[in-house]
């Protein structure tokens, strides 16, 4: 207590020192409290998220069908990875589908979301209605999106086939059943939601742009397109990075919508589905599932880690 009263009357320089080393001034009780405030959440998060992530790596080198204790695990080195790449039929299709998913999201859905955000930012009349309509699907689960679009794609009862008159036995288009079509049909449904998500994120970024920047560009004779690409877009680099991260992660996470349609078979295989099939599917192959999970982990860390270092570098400098 006496320490705190002297503290109150100290000069600025020592105050700065105090910020750096606050623990000296905390009572033992307070230190325990700080420890618990941070320790309990951190322990839960590490135990249920990071420990399993590490165990995925460990188990990917094993053969275990889950029956019997941990003692029944055979350690087989990189055999799982080798087998997945060579003799596991759904693996390469799943990789291809994930890449197509990512490609469509990055090259089509995300730019559309950005474009719509730029249009909304012009604050024309009725912009609130337009925004609400486009962002509405964002609150729906992807599982539900799958159900809603089933009503559109259904071969004989769906909206599209009824509109274009392809409901007969001879000319029926099976949007979700045809393995050459279904991935694209699903991607339209998934983009329906993703575009709204990107629009909301990007619009927030655009609102933060200093309007004088655009005015200055306009005075210098830049067209609105030039002003966007040369001035606004570079300023929005932080949000562009967030959007890239979100898009990649969402493409890797894709699961629900495909599972609802046909459990991720027949043209809709995805890495996330293969992981899940190896634990709750017909055969429990924990090593296989883990190895595919590790592939997902490596791809996601490839984007997460650079993002983190970029985001927290400034904080590090500030401390």
């Amino acid at each position: 207590m006496s320490a705190t009263t002297t503290e109150a009357s100290t000069t600025k320089t020592s105050r700065r020192r105090r910020k750096k080393k606050p623990f000296r001034l905390l009572t033992r009780r307070d230190m325990v409290v700080v420890g618990l405030l941070l320790g309990i959440p951190a322990a839960i998060h590490v135990f249920f998220v990071w420990l399993p992530a590490l165990l995925s790596i460990v188990l990917s080198f094993s053969r275990w069908n889950g029956i019997g204790g941990v003692g029944n695990i055979d350690w087989i080195g990189t055999t799982n990875y080798h087998q997945i790449a060579t003799i596991y039929p759904p693996f390469w299709p799943a990789v291809r589908h994930n890449l197509i998913w990512l490609g469509v999201f990055i090259l089509i859905a995300t730019p559309i979301g950005m474009y719509l955000a730029v249009q909304m930012d012009k604050e024309i009349k009725g912009t609130r209605f337009y925004q609400s309509a486009i962002y509405l699907p964002v609150v729906l689960s992807l599982a539900l999106v799958g159900f809603i679009w089933t009503l559109i794609y259904s071969p004989d009862e769906g909206l599209i086939n009824n509109l274009i008159g392809k409901t007969g036995q001879g000319n029926l288009i099976d949007w979700l059943g045809n393995p050459h079509l279904n991935l694209w049909a699903i991607l339209i449904a998934a983009s329906w939601r993703h575009i709204g998500y990107i629009m909301v994120l990007y619009l927030a970024g655009l609102k933060g742009v200093d309007p004088t920047l655009k005015e200055a560009a306009a005075i210098d004779g830049a067209s609105s397109r030039q002003a966007f690409f040369r001035v606004v877009f570079p300023v929005l680099k932080p949000i562009n990075i967030v959007i890239l991260v979100v898009t990649v992660i969402e493409s890797l996470r894709a699961f629900d919508i495909v599972y609802v349609i046909n459990k991720g078979t027949n043209g809709l295989e995805l890495l996330s589905i293969l992981v899940t099939n190896n634990i709750i599917g017909e055969a429990s192959r924990i090593g296989y599932g883990s190895a595919i999970a590790v592939i997902l982990l490596i791809i996601s860390l490839g984007i997460i880690i650079p993002y983190l270092f970029r985001t927290f570098r400034k904080d590090e400098a500030a401390l």
Partner: protein, 302 residues
């Protein structure tokens, strides 16, 4: 000479003005069409759900006429036992959101108001944890849930697996990362003097958290509560894998039963889908501001 230049400048200004107006009109037409296309899937589901199966079978799905009523909703409600699944969702979502925010705010407070050697590393760990695809951790998590025993008053299976406690736990652990990230960013912006003043007055660390920082953090907490409610409500994956008993599943993952139950009756599926969407649509209508703020709080940093 000057008059000519003036006239030309005048002319250009006029044409630019009308060009802007023309473009604005074009933009409005474009956006109106886009918005309607965007609403179409949902409106189509609503339209289909209002018509009896017999009428659509007779007249075709793309048609008007016949009767319009709520009988599909009544059937879906009772046959699929939807009230039961809404309650399951409630049992999972409400504690899930509250505990997530409580724990995340505790960690964010400690990380943003005190400096340790590992501050940044821990923040990175929380943030990265939330970005991992769920499938990366599911295989070991599934085995862990089967291996961790729980007292029977917490879980009727005696395990983390297939229990409400287990599913709430994974939601809390997983969602916490995002909330810690957002809340610590917010708490860092609160003036240092506030807690220092409390500190000088002899307030304990707990009091600083409880009575100074938490009341001031209401805006991001409201935004995060809205967002987390929607996310946990919308969860499909955790419940499909970690809850085995169909009748214990929350409504979003129980929708899968609906498909098997109603099979070819798209009208009933439409009604069931709309019913399942209603809580999130209420969030959309009433709490849109908080939801959008929650989304953007996590992205406009840096």
């Amino acid at each position: 000479m000057t008059t000519f230049a003036q006239r030309r400048a005048e002319k250009r200004r006029q044409s630019e003005a009308s060009g802007v107006e023309g473009r604005r009109l074009g933009l409005r037409i474009f956006l109106t069409i886009t918005a309607l296309v965007w609403l179409l899937p949902l409106l189509w589901a609503v339209y289909t759900s209002l018509r009896p199966y017999a009428d659509t079978a007779r007249l075709g799905y793309v048609s008007i006429g016949g009767t319009y009523n709520l009988s599909n909703y009544a059937t879906a409600w009772s046959q699929a036992d939807l009230p039961h699944y809404y309650i399951n969702t409630l049992i999972i979502t409400v504690p899930g959101v509250i505990i997530t925010l409580l724990l995340a705010s505790m960690a964010a407070f400690a990380l943003s108001r005190f400096s340790f050697r590992f501050n940044i590393a821990l923040l990175m760990l929380f943030t990265a944890g939330n970005l991992l695809p769920q499938q990366v951790i599911i295989t070991p998590l599934y085995r862990m849930f089967l291996a961790i025993p729980l007292p029977h008053w917490l879980s009727d299976t005696g395990l983390m697996f297939d229990s409400y406690f287990g599913i709430i736990t994974i939601h809390v652990a997983f969602q916490m990362g995002f909330c810690v990230f957002v809340l610590s960013n917010y708490m860092k912006t609160l003036p240092k003097d506030l807690t220092e003043a409390a500190f000088v007055d002899g307030a304990s660390v707990w009091r600083q958290y409880r009575s100074v920082v938490m009341p001031l953090s209401r805006p991001p907490l409201a935004a995060l509560a809205t967002l987390e409610f929607t996310w946990i409500y919308n969860d499909f994956f955790w419940a499909i894998v970690l809850v085995q008993t169909g009748t214990k599943r929350p409504i979003t993952s129980a929708l899968n039963n609906l498909k098997g139950l109603f099979f070819t009756d798209n009208n009933l599926i439409a009604a069931g889908a709309i019913l399942a969407a209603i809580p999130t649509l209420i969030v959309f209508i009433l709490l849109q501001r908080h939801f959008v703020k929650g989304l953007t709080l996590g992205s406009t940093k840096g």
